[in-house]
Each structure stands twice: as C-alpha cells, then as structure tokens.
C-alpha cells in the first residue's frame, strides 16, 4: 500500500515472483516487505529446526553433564551442533538482510558439519565411536540432518533479499 514511490521502484516491483500474502504482517519500516523467510514452507522448516535445536541441546547437555570425559570431542561436537540448530531456527524466523546472512552461514555450517562428521564417523569409526546428531550422516535421525540443510539452502535461495537499490548517484 505504499503509494510513495521512488524513481526506479517500478522496475524492481516485479522482482518478487511470490505474491504478497493478503493480510501479512506490517513490514518493518516498510523497507523490505518480502524479506522474510518465516512463511509458507519456511514455517515447516523452522518447526523442524526447532525440534532439532531442542533435541540436540538436550542430548548435548545430557552427554556433557553425565559422561563428558568419555569422549570430549564427540560431545563438544554435539554441543556445537546444538548451537548451530539454535542459530538456524532463530535466524530463519527473523526478517531482514542481516538475519538472512546469519541463516545462510548457519545452514552452510550445518551442511559442512553433517558432511564432515558423517564422513569421519564412517571412515574413522575408531576415533568417532560416540554418537552425535551428525554421525553417519544423521542416520539415527532418519537422515533428516542431511536433508535439512539442503532444503534450507533451497528455501533461502528462493527467499533471498532483493538486490540493494543503488545508493547515491
């Protein structure tokens, strides 16, 4: 409903292919009305991330409190995974360019983590005998930890912020 248009807006208006949902939340400051990722499929993504954040946090907390000395590396990895899931959950739910970047970073770290830890747990099972969320590419969790970052990146790409309008000139 922004009648006040600046020069150059007309060309950019058709950029977003997704139609604005009727009765959506008032855009923050009117700066970037579509710069959100907490709608549609994003809500499912956030919900699944939230479940993983809770379970990974609980699991890491349990491992560190009860048997940290058994496998410090594996349990620190568990805690790290928990933090990554927490950051991903929160950042996906937030609007704006900065949170988008945080989301991309978190999801990329997650993808890297599940690939590296997954590979290490397969090829070096002597040093990685203890379970983490990412062990064996997340087999203990129905491979969702492997699938989640891929879907996350697709979603982030589809909802990437519009390019910054040229400043000054």
């Amino acid at each position: 409903m922004t009648e006040k248009s600046s020069p150059g807006d007309t060309g950019r208006a058709s950029g977003g292919s997704l139609p604005a949902t009727g009765g959506s939340l008032p855009a923050t400051g009117g700066a970037a009305p579509k710069d959100t990722r907490n709608t549609g499929p994003g809500r499912l993504l956030i919900a699944v991330y939230a479940v993983f954040a809770i379970s990974a946090t609980a699991r890491a907390g349990y491992q560190i409190i009860t048997k940290f000395s058994e496998a410090p590396l594996a349990y620190l990895l568990s805690a790290f995974a928990a933090v990554v899931y927490l950051v991903a959950t929160v950042s996906l739910a937030k609007a704006g360019r900065t949170w988008f970047k945080v989301s991309v970073a978190a999801v990329l770290v997650e993808l890297l983590g599940v690939l590296v830890v997954g590979a290490l747990s397969v090829f070096d099972s002597v040093n990685f005998p203890h379970e983490t969320v990412w062990s064996l590419f997340g087999r203990g969790y129905g491979y969702i930890p492997l699938l989640l970052p891929i879907l996350g990146l697709i979603w982030l790409y589809r909802r990437r912020p519009a390019p910054k309008p040229a400043k000054g000139s």
């Binding site: 709608t39 549609g40 499929p41 994003g42 809500r43 499912l44 956030i46 919900a47 699944v48 939230a50 479940v51 809770i54 609980a58 349990y62 009860t66």
Partner: protein, 117 residues
C-alpha cells in the same frame, strides 16, 4: 515396548496421516487436523499419568529417571507449540508442521520405553 508406546504409536501415526493428507490436499489447518494433534497430546497425557502411577506404585525406571521425564515433558509441549505455530499462519504448510508432531511423539515414546526398561 509397552501399551503406552503402542497407544502413542497408533494415535501419532493416524494424526500424521490425517495432517499430511490435509496438507497435500492444500487445506489449511482445520478442526480435524488440530483435533488429531490434540489426540496425540491426550495419548501422551495418558502416558504421563500411567507413568506417575507406576512410579508411585513402586516400579523403578531402569535408565535415568530425569531423562525419561525430560522426554515426556518435552513431548507434551510439542503438540501445543505446533498448534500455536500452525494457527499463526493458516496455510497448507501448517498442516505439515502438525503432521510432524505425530511421528516426533512416537519416536520420543520409543525412546522413553527404552529408558524405562
């Protein structure tokens, strides 16, 4: 696996199938899908009450008791959170959020059974 697990298993699977179907049919969350998630909550409440009675009756949990109760309480919060999250934006996607509750609950119930025995 005890009867409590099988109750959660059946109710959870039925709820997931209902919500998944509604989502695939492009429906927004409605009474049927929300009530199916409420049934999951109810089955978990049965598990809770049953477990309290068993512990009060002198049964001991083989694993860590606080781990068991932690799972149970978290599982009880999930359906409420999912319903809240799904009615904030009533699109078909919210039905997939609701569909996730049933399977999550049954996985958690399986783990709770492992801890108990």
């Amino acid at each position: 696996m005890d009867a409590y697990f099988y109750i959660v298993l059946v109710v959870g699977l039925v709820s997931t199938v209902i919500c998944l179907t509604a989502g695939l049919l492009k429906k927004a969350p409605n009474d049927t899908t929300i009530l199916s998630v409420a049934a999951v909550e109810l089955s978990l409440l049965v598990y809770l009450v049953g477990s309290i009675i068993r512990v009060a009756g002198g049964e001991t949990i083989a694993g860590e008791p606080w781990e068991f109760w932690g799972y149970l309480i978290t599982a009880l919060i999930l359906p409420i959170g999912a319903v809240y999250w799904s009615i904030l934006e009533r699109t078909r996607w919210s039905n997939f959020v609701l569909a996730a509750v049933g399977v999550t609950a049954l996985v958690m119930a399986a783990r709770m059974n492992q801890i108990w025995y």
